[in-house]
Point group: none
Chain length 219, copies 4
DNA sequence: TATGAATGAGCATTCATTCAT
DNA sequence: TATGAATGAATGCTCATTCAT
């Protein structure tokens, strides 16, 4: 391949390893996000990355490995963004508020990352599941800790204690669901989303731990 | 193939079309639920159904079509179950309550259906999306209608109006998420789930429409 | 593919399974014989067989399985030919004679089979080895039995007993080697080969068991 | 790459060409012997040799060339060992005896060389064949010369003359086969092997050239 | 109606080989 | 001299899909 061709292809050659890895991961996230794990082909990824397939295998391993690497990187980014958004010096409600805002901001700015994490990773059985389930569990635990801390202060009865984990899961699920809904309603701001969700769950949770309960009027 | 052979194989042949279709759909749901859309093979489905592959293609079209048919049937069942659970003569909170209970009951009794609907269908890009998105939209609309009816009675300010759809989406998402979480915590009853979620969202929603709002203490 | 094309390709379609299997095995032996196991491609085999690759995998399994099936079939044929050639009612020398003749005749008439058995199969480490080593062991055992029978009659001293197995191996090796040599000297008849080898080994063996030994004149 | 780096790697660089070549060939023989030609990878060879792949290509050419070089070196060593073992001042039988002993000794001491020569080289079709066939021809010629010399002395009838080459091939084959058999019976000494084979073929050959022939009692 | 037989097309993966430094 | 970085080109294998009966 002569100089002319090289330039026509617009590819830079002989880059250091970590740069290439980043290139590859970026491409992989794009492609996995667009077509899903199974429909994504290594050929397309290599093409989008501007790198030949053997490099992918040399650096990131099999398709499965590559997907796992994507998940790990994006999940880490997401959690870091959320963690960075939280102000630990504030009260729990503000922590949740900032956490939610950070979450929606991240999703808004990294649609592809989100799609890979939420849509693709969740649905695959087998090896990734572990990875993703673990990440999701970390998120739920994070929220649960927040809820417990809050509830404990106010005094938490037994049933409520038992419920917090479920509520945390529900909360995470709401956020995920809202994020998805957002994809089809781009005129909404991330702030509005966070605000709505905050009102929904925080007030509800507050009532719950205070003993104000909704009870079916008749079974 | 003569009668003798037919009997030797022990299968009943020449069944009416709708029976065959049900056989096939049942098998397809089982297999899709177990392995996911892509990992499911038409071979396995035909084997589980006890029907040859050409029959599947003749009756239900391509793999994609087949999957769509599964989604449609299961979603319909789910919505019917929920609708049937609702007592229109009761107040909105009781309607939601019974709806949630019916939802969780259905999920508990039809794990496979749920897995196909939630895990598989959500993650596939492309043609199914339409189908699934439509179904999901119907569910959200159902909840939204409920919320709007309630809110309207009490007088709904503008921002709240705008939020109800999002809240409906969030609510549906919470329920889905809780249902998933349930798969790993089978000792919980469907009643408990419904109760927790009801408390979380109904009280929150009640506060919201009544004007009691949570507002970040400082931006 | 219309009728014309079908006829142009000269392929008969929808044959019963065992016919197809034979076709495939025939082609595989040809191709393995020509290029060796590793250089043989499933594509070429399928092309030579006039059958698509999926049929090969459906009927005969993986490349390794296919190769194993070739080995087994050809080895069986060879052993059957040799066994059929032997006249059990005759004396041991005549048995060996007829056995050798049958062997060389078979090799002469089935060069490709021989090449696959001898050249290809012997050299592969791993799974086939077992198969082939077993076949070779059977051949050696056959010869050994013959030698032992003969020797026992005449009274066999200890060292000679111990040597028969080695001699059997050597004899089989000579025959194999001669067969190979023959490939490059096609003007020789199988009868001549058998005769030479018979004289070489039978007379030598006779001397050996009779106690006429060659002993190095000086170490 | 500067001096510091060079020393950090702990490898001695800039060695004279022939030393590098020997390193490479040693590694190649080891690897080819262990995995066979096709399963051996240039990567592994370069790793075992402690030399980068481009060096291998620069010094010894393609994989095929490299294999050829291995064959040539090892075959030469073997032939030299055998030749060195022969005492030309002794009679033909003693020459063969010493030749065989030298052969088996070499095999015993250089299993890897032997494996490459016998197992790998023989089975590959194509380019190597030439190389290997040539080497084998030299070995056969060596033996043939010996036989002819012997036979001529005693007077050799026409048929026997014609047969010597075949017998030489058979002899070489027996030795090879015995050597293989030996790999699975390590308690045998090389002397025993040589002795058995000597008795088998020398006596047989002696009979043959003396006119004592084995003739089938009835065709 | 019903199916065994058959295939086109694609995909993950590997490896000998060669630049650019 | 010496090599890390990079790739073209195959190859084994699978699967949705469709004939011919």
């Amino acid at each position: 391949m002569d100089v002319e061709q090289r330039q026509r292809h617009g590819r830079v050659r002989r880059l250091p390893r970590d740069v290439r890895e980043r290139q590859i991961l970026d491409a992989a996230v794009r492609v996995f996000s667009a077509h899903g794990y199974h429909n994504a082909s290594m050929d397309e990824i290599s093409e989008v990355a501007g790198v030949s397939k053997p490099m992918i295998y040399a650096y990131l391993g099999s398709k499965e490995d590559l997907f796992g690497a994507c998940i790990r990187r994006e999940a880490t980014r997401l959690l870091e963004a959320v963690t960075a958004g939280i102000r630990v010096e504030l009260g729990p409600d503000m922590q949740l508020w900032h956490g939610l805002r950070a979450f929606f901001r991240f999703v808004g700015e990294h649609r592809e990352s989100w799609r890979v994490l939420h849509r693709q990773a969740t649905s695959q059985g087998g090896p990734f599941s572990d990875e993703v389930v673990a990440m999701r569990a970390r998120a739920i635990a994070l929220v649960d800790a927040l809820l417990v801390r809050t509830a404990t202060k106010r005094g938490l009865d037994e049933q409520a204690t038992r419920a917090t984990e479920a509520l945390a899961a529900a909360l995470v699920g709401s956020a995920e669901s809202l994020a998805d809904w957002w994809l089809d309603h781009p005129d909404i701001t991330d702030k509005m989303l966070a605000s709505w969700l905050m009102n929904l769950v925080w007030m509800g949770f507050g009532d719950l731990v205070e003993g104000t309960q909704w009870i079916p009027s008749a079974e």
